[in-house]
Subunit: 346 residues, 4 copies
């Protein structure tokens, strides 16, 4: 029956760059694959990449944090019982770690947070997961821990293996505040003349637009922990070409563009607190994905997690390239539409 | 140069279903293509589809609204000047419509909203866009209107062609409150015995989990206008297989699952206020996309917009199938992980 | 029994100002009463008031909009039934107006909005309410309309007289997007030398702090449609001294401070989209409240609503005075705490 | 000059109760003072209090957490410098504690959190503050720490003594997720017959309304971490009568009502994660406040913090009484308005 055979959806892909990168994860100059139905994106990221090569140090990336999370939900008779269980749990972290280690070689429990609502206890389990983005690893670990919880705290009953306080593929505040995925900052210092000649704008115009559009405009729209022009576009294209679970662009797109005029030059940064990427796991066995990861230098023998961190840092530079390019375009009346029309028709 | 050739990323795709559908857009029974790196999704949606075929009327979809938006940003000397311009604009809707009609055969201005922040005037332009999702159409219309604004209101100056009050590919409140994309509700009434035999759970358990996980859990996480388990997964897979701009899953994923026990049976609904889909435009020329749209019955000769509405309604049923299946699984300790392991390893 | 006698809580109150005011509501110079347990507030607003008197035009206020809302909740069998009822309702606005007029001489229905979630229909009723803040007036109108709905749409059943889509005394996005209370912008243009001599800071420092603290800081905190330092403080003190329902500072405090350097001077604005105030109704019969309203010029014979608009505009200037003063102080390390200690101990 | 004398605003106050209370803070039965312009509130809380006396254990309160916060803002050259400073800071907690102890006898630093946005470093300082709500104490501690930061990290420069990541008197997500003020849960188990006879409703109706109004309605309104009918009302009245800084009702009102039917009876809970109250500090020297605190048993010789915790727990029960009463009323068409009219006119 045709309906159940596995075929494939060939999404148009192109390499863009090279992007000049430095920072606490990698220093390199490399092109990136972007798979998308929105072809103007290639041009947009490409323009940012050219600028990166003209600036000292290129785009500097800083990895701030990394963790993957799953929240479980447990029910108690009342808040007092829930609180007692939570307090007792604090002394049992070694036991929890032992349970986690049975579920995976790579998962390590690094922190716990909780919320008590009436008689409900939400426990947010936070792990490092090596080179995997870690969805399945933390679900598996949570599954093992859930069994252990049921035995260790007979006064609690099963609520859910996922209580949405994780929060996976949802735009929430908790992921940025407590951390989920890689937290990466990408920054660039663009000399005024590069800004004028290559981006056809000025540092002042970019800073001004960022405040009025990304900060104030998103605020008036009722955004949550987010201020950017179009992170989602770059994330989707990079995620599709590198075998990521691209539904994570939902929280990935919650990031902040911050720009300043510094001695007449443009300081431009993209902060991405919730970048969920991996170099092993679902989607990674496919030939083209393997090729792409290889070319990005994410198939080297390194300590667990190092390849994934490299991928996250590269991803953040792609986001910066596209964000910079679009903001620059929008400072000029008419440029955006002309570019779209020209690229799509020409 | 290798870096700049266009190749493709072949994303695994499978047809799932058929899903039984009724409602104010279509009544049909049809399979759907899902392109994803997360293979368990096929099984999950498939289970929901099977349930749909066992319930009277299948999944009922109701299209509530449709529009596409772009917000422009204009600057005035102060709030008084901004307010005067806005008030004057109310008498000029016909002129605006005429400008819009020069930019596109299909775009029609249907409403305007605004926000004034200090001296800044954000105008949210709302259009119908025929069968296109309409990103480019509304940007083009906004571009034409911006020129007209500059001429008609010399007291206003250019701020941005997009002021983020649109809001495109960002999780905000404005899209659900004022509308963006198709607003679709998908509902099903599942007899208790189907619930028990096919979903291995009870109506009471599903309702209870929905409250504690989707409503309360997301709330505690600081979610914004959203309460669901994993809409983003289904949207991504359906968007990739039908040539959509999948970055719109960011706002698309902001939807609400609402369930009730009705006379012992399960009423289960998914409300998707921000479904952005189209059957013409970027991504639609590709062969496999054309094939898929054809099979979904979205390549018929109909009034402009009818094919896109059909696609949106189908999309909502896919979301319901996957949401129902995962929630049912999570009511049972251990089932989720076992299913994942079995499917991925087997 | 002592517990049930009505006594009073004498909250310390002081007149501050005068504040110089212009704009589309009033042009005047007047002192304002502030009742608060936080005495430094008097000094803070007083400093802003002094600055207002030194700037041309003082503080300019612009009333953007006014309305009061109540949302009712109705239940249908499914979304299709809810949608049909909503669509039919659009042709019955005159009938609705007639029902409203039976409930009050002053309430006028000016708009309707809705949300459909599964089978639930939320209808947001929007009224003008004369000089009253209008809580009771709209509840009463909603009560009359609810009876009429039950009769006119037998397919709908009672859900709630208030469905929280209003939204009263909650921090949400809907109030700013659709309007609730008075929407007022207060603006001032402060010459650089006044800024330096009276506020001991520079326009650049105030603008910079506003971006990093109010915009970026609140954003990272997961704020919703809000960016200010302490609107809540001024609102509370002004509300208590003028007999307002001060619980409305919850949504009132959701406002945005926007500042710019203009030719070396400081443009500073406070946008308050949800100011809920009245000059008649609960709290207004008290002697001291009547005295205060009288002195504020809000007891004149004017068209219904004019006194309340005047009060709202004055309130916005109080907010600006206090906001300006605190932000200026926070640009200077150590000033804030010294001021507090000095004022409270001396 | 009249404008500058301190007078007072006598807010109507009444004692309501007694409320029956148990839990991990106090077990007692006591009346509470409520100062408000909204007289129906006395009746509403009074009805809840009567119910509390008829239920075994009355209202059970559980104190989950307590802390007071201030966030400072520091600037670095880039994110890498900010991250290094933050990492180095982790080894200097004892030094920080020493600095804090110079600023106050009572303030103790208990935790630190941070956010890095581009080159900006927000540090959220978290303290216990004895019996004070702690606004001034933490500002003073932050002021001392800021000086120490400037000396210890010469690579960082002053941004702001308050960076709005605190977050004081703003509705944000961070306060509930990381904690600010007292986190208190109040719960009651109401036998069905009490529910029917005293609240004129059923457990099923209350649970149903809570889901559709507080959870779904607030969600559709774009609320943030909040689901209740009117916590703000009770908080304001209790805060005014006990000398609190009532502007903190902004975050205090962000709480969650959760109800369930348990064996035919009603489990009803109010979770208040951000209750900011104190028994010493501003507002507490006033005679009537002292009297009220005395009668509430919050003027006893106890370990620092115990009186404030008692006050917080009592406050939570007041909130529950009023919330329960209003929800019960809203389950019945027409009851709410009739009650208002009767009370205000009679």
């Amino acid at each position: 029956m045709k309906a159940h055979k596995i075929s494939s959806a060939p999404v148009p892909m192109r390499w863009v760059g090279p992007i000049a990168i430095s920072g606490n994860v990698l220093t390199d100059s490399l092109s990136v694959p972007l798979a998308t139905y929105e072809s103007p994106l290639w041009h947009s990221v490409g323009r940012g990449a050219r600028v990166s090569r003209l600036c000292e140090g290129g785009i500097k990336t800083t990895l701030i944090d990394e963790r993957m999370t799953r929240s479980i939900l447990l029910e108690a008779a009342d808040a007092g019982v829930a609180l007692n269980a939570w307090q007792r749990l604090q002394g049992l972290r070694d036991e929890m770690q032992a349970v986690v280690s049975q579920s995976s070689r790579f998962a390590k429990l690094i922190d716990l947070h909780h919320q008590i609502v009436g008689n409900l206890l939400y426990i947010r389990l936070e792990f490092t997961t090596g080179d995997a983005s870690g969805h399945n690893m933390v679900t598996n670990a949570a599954d093992h821990l859930m069994r252990w919880f049921m035995e260790t705290f007979p006064e609690l009953s099963y609520g859910s293996i996922s209580g949405n306080y994780c929060s996976d593929k949802k735009a929430t505040a908790v992921n940025g505040i407590l951390g989920r995925g890689k937290n990466v900052v990408a920054e660039i210092l663009i000399p005024r003349d590069i800004c004028e000649r290559r981006l056809l704008t000025t540092p002042e115009k970019v800073v001004d637009l960022n405040i009025k559009k990304n900060l104030l405009g998103t605020l008036m729209a009722g955004g949550i922990r987010s201020a950017n022009a179009h992170y989602a576009n770059m994330l989707l294209a990079f995620y599709m070409s590198t075998g990521q679970d691209a539904a994570n662009i939902v929280e990935g797109s919650q990031g902040v563009t911050h720009a300043e005029v510094r001695e007449g030059n443009l300081y431009f940064s993209c902060t991405l607190p919730n970048l969920i990427v991996g170099t092993v796991g679902n989607g990674k066995g496919l030939d083209f994905v393997e090729d792409n990861l290889q070319q990005l230098g994410c198939r080297e023998e390194r300590e667990p997690g190092a390849n994934a961190r490299r991928l996250a840092a590269i991803c953040a530079t792609v986001v910066l390239c596209g964000e910079l390019s679009l903001l620059a375009a929008q400072t000029n009346p008419g440029e955006l539409m002309q570019a779209h029309i020209q690229l799509e028709r020409g």
